[in-house]
C-alpha cells in the first residue's frame, strides 16, 4: 500500500503580523516556519497505518523552497515517513491554491497511491481547499475534515465533523482525506530518529521535471490590511462580584445593545 501525505510549511501560530496600513505585500521574512499543525494529524495517521499493516510506504510531498527540508526531516521523516518529495520551483513562489493543487496532482500522478492525506487547512492562508481540489483533479473521492478513520480492504469508513454532530462516510480506495484535530495525537520525533532521518531520500523536482508548465494563478491578493483597531477596555468596578456582574449585564444590554 502506498500513502502520500501533502504537507506545507507555515509561519508559527505565535506569529505576529505588524501591519500598520494596507500594503500590497506581507513581509514574511522574520517569520519562524513550522509544519502546518493540521498536517501533523495527516502525517501521524499515515504512520499509524504503516505501523498497523505490512508493506506500507509513506511519501511526504511539499511544494515550497529548500528551506522546507528541515521541517520535512524533523516532522515527517523522523516520525516515520519513508521518503519525501519537494517541488522547488521559483515560478511557484506566488502560486495560489489552484496552482498548488495542479502541481501536487502532477506529483501524485507519477505513481498510484491508495490514500492521499492532507491537513484540513493551512493556518497561514486559512483556505482549506487544496485537498479537495487535488481529489477532483485526480478523479478520486474525498472525505474532508475527518476526526476518525477505519481502513478496510479497498474501502474506508471515516467520521467528519459537521455543525452539531458528525457524518459517517464510506468511501472506496484510492481516496483523498483531509485531517482535523481529534483524529489522533501526533507524536514528537526522538533525537535518534531525527539523526536517522538524514539518511532517508528527499527528491527535489521542478515543474519541468514533472512535465508541466508552472500553472497560472486564478486569484491575486491586491492588498493586505490590518484588522480594525479596538477601543480601550471598560473595566466594571463594584463593591462585590455580584454587583459587578449586574452592572456588566446592564452595560451589555443598554450600552453595547448586544443582549
Amino acid at each position: 500500500m502506498k500513502i502520500a501525505v501533502c504537507v506545507k510549511q507555515v509561519p508559527d501560530s505565535e506569529t505576529r503580523i505588524n501591519l500598520a496600513a494596507p500594503a500590497p505585500e506581507l513581509d514574511q521574512s522574520g517569520f519562524t516556519r513550522v509544519l502546518n499543525p493540521y498536517d501533523a494529524y495527516a502525517v501521524e495517521q499515515a504512520v499509524r497505518i504503516k505501523e498497523s499493516r505490512e508493506g506500507v510506504e509513506v511519501t511526504a510531498i511539499t511544494v515550497g523552497p529548500q528551506t522546507v527540508k528541515e521541517t520535512l526531516k524533523k516532522d515527517c521523516l523522523a516520525v516515520g515517513c519513508d521518503k519525501a518529495v519537494i517541488v522547488d520551483d521559483p515560478a511557484l513562489a506566488k502560486a495560489d491554491h489552484a496552482a498548488i493543487a495542479t502541481v501536487l496532482a502532477a506529483v501524485l500522478g507519477r505513481e498510484p497511491y491508495d490514500l492521499v492525506l492532507f491537513g484540513l487547512k493551512a493556518i497561514d492562508g486559512d483556505a482549506g481547499q487544496v485537498g479537495i481540489l487535488v481529489a477532483q483533479k485526480l478523479g478520486l473521492p474525498h472525505v474532508s475534515t475527518i476526526t476518525k478513520l477505519e481502513l478496510g480492504e479497498g474501502s474506508l469508513k471515516a467520521e467528519r465533523e459537521i455543525e452539531g454532530g458528525k457524518e459517517i462516510v464510506e468511501a472506496s480506495l484510492p481516496c483523498v482525506l483531509t485531517c482535523q484535530k481529534g483524529l489522533n495525537e501526533p507524536r514528537l520525533p526522538s533525537l535518534p530518529n531525527i539523526m536517522k532521518a538524514g539518511m532517508k531520500p528527499i527528491e527535489t523536482v521542478t515543474c519541468r521535471d514533472l512535465g508541466i508548465e508552472a500553472p497560472a494563478n486564478l486569484v491575486t491578493v491586491k492588498l493586505y490590511s490590518p484588522p480594525p483597531a479596538r477601543g480601550a477596555c471598560k473595566l466594571v468596578e463594584a463593591e462585590d462580584p455580584a454587583a459587578a456582574a449586574r452592572e456588566l449585564a446592564r452595560l451589555l444590554s443598554e450600552e453595547a445593545k448586544v443582549i
Binding site: 491554491h97 489552484a98 479537495i132 473521492p141 459537521i162 490590511s225 471598560k234 451589555l252 444590554s253
Partner: protein, 323 residues
Amino acid sequence: MPNIAVFIEHRSGVLKKVAWQMLSEARRLADAHGGEVWGVFLGPDAAPAAATAGKHGADKVFAATGDAFAVYDSELWGTALAAFCTARKPDLVLVGSTALGKDLAPKAAAKLGCACISDAVGLKFDGGWEIRRPIFAGKCFADVTFSTPLAIVGIRPNAFVMAESPKAGAVESFDPGLDGVRSKAKVMSVEAATSGKVTLTEAEIVVSGGRGIKGPENYPLIEKLAEALGAAAGASRAIVDAGWVDYSHQVGQTGKTVAPNLYVACGISGAIQHLAGMSSSKCIVAINKDANAPIFKVADYGIVGDLFAVLPALTDEVGRIRG
C-alpha cells in the same frame, strides 16, 4: 451587471441562516450595481426555500430536486452546482462557510476550473470584484481579485446582516446533470452531538471557558450562562487538550474562528492563538482574576474578578433581563 447566485443550504430540511444573510448582501449589491440575485437550491423540495429566498431578495430560485439531494454528497452536489453555473453563467456564486459549504465550494470550483475564495467577510464591486477575507486566523485581511469569469466564494456566517426585500423568488428547475455520475464516497449516517444546542460558528453570542474554570465539573457554569444568553459554548485549547470538553468547542487558530456579536471569555488568558480565533467579534467581554491577562487588551468590557463569583450572578441577571 453582475448576476449573483446564492447557494441555499439545508440540512435535513432545515434551512441555514447564512443563506438569508448572503441573499440580503447580494440584494444590496444588485440594487447598487444592477444584475439579478438568484437562489440555488438542491434538495427534495424547493418550495419552503423559495418562499424565504424571495423574502430576502431573490429574483429567482433555481432548483434541482430529487432523492439525490436528500443528504449531502460531494460528488453529486458538486456536479449539480457546476451544471447550474455552466447553464446560467452567474458572475459570482456565494456559498456559506459551513461544514457542507466548505466541502462543496472547492469541489464545484475544481469541476469548473474557476477561482474559489474561502471564508470571505466582504464583497466589493467596482467594475470588478474585490473579495475581503481574513487570513492568519484574522491577524490580517487580504483583498482578493480573480481572473476567471466566475468565482465561487465562501461566506462566513454572520459576516452580513440579514434584511428583508421582497422579490418574486419564482422557482425554475434546472438539470443537475447527474446522468452517469456515481459517487465513490457516501454519507451512511448522521449522528447528532449530545452537547451544545447552538452551533459555535453560527452563533450570535459565544461564551467560552478556559483553564480558569479549574476542572471539567465547572464547565456547566459556562454552559448555563450560554443557555441564558441563547449562546454557543466555546473553550480554549488548554481545556480541550486537558479533555474537559470536546474539540468541537475549541476557539482559536487551530479551532473554530468565530465573529459573533458578543464573545464572553471566562478564565481565558488570551494567548495569541486564542485571540486569532475570536478577536473580530463585535463586542468582547473578559472575566479574569488577573488584571494583566492579555485578553483585556482586546476586550471592550471586563471584570477583574473570580469567575466562580461572577458567572452565577451574571447568569441570573441575564435571565432577568432577557425574561
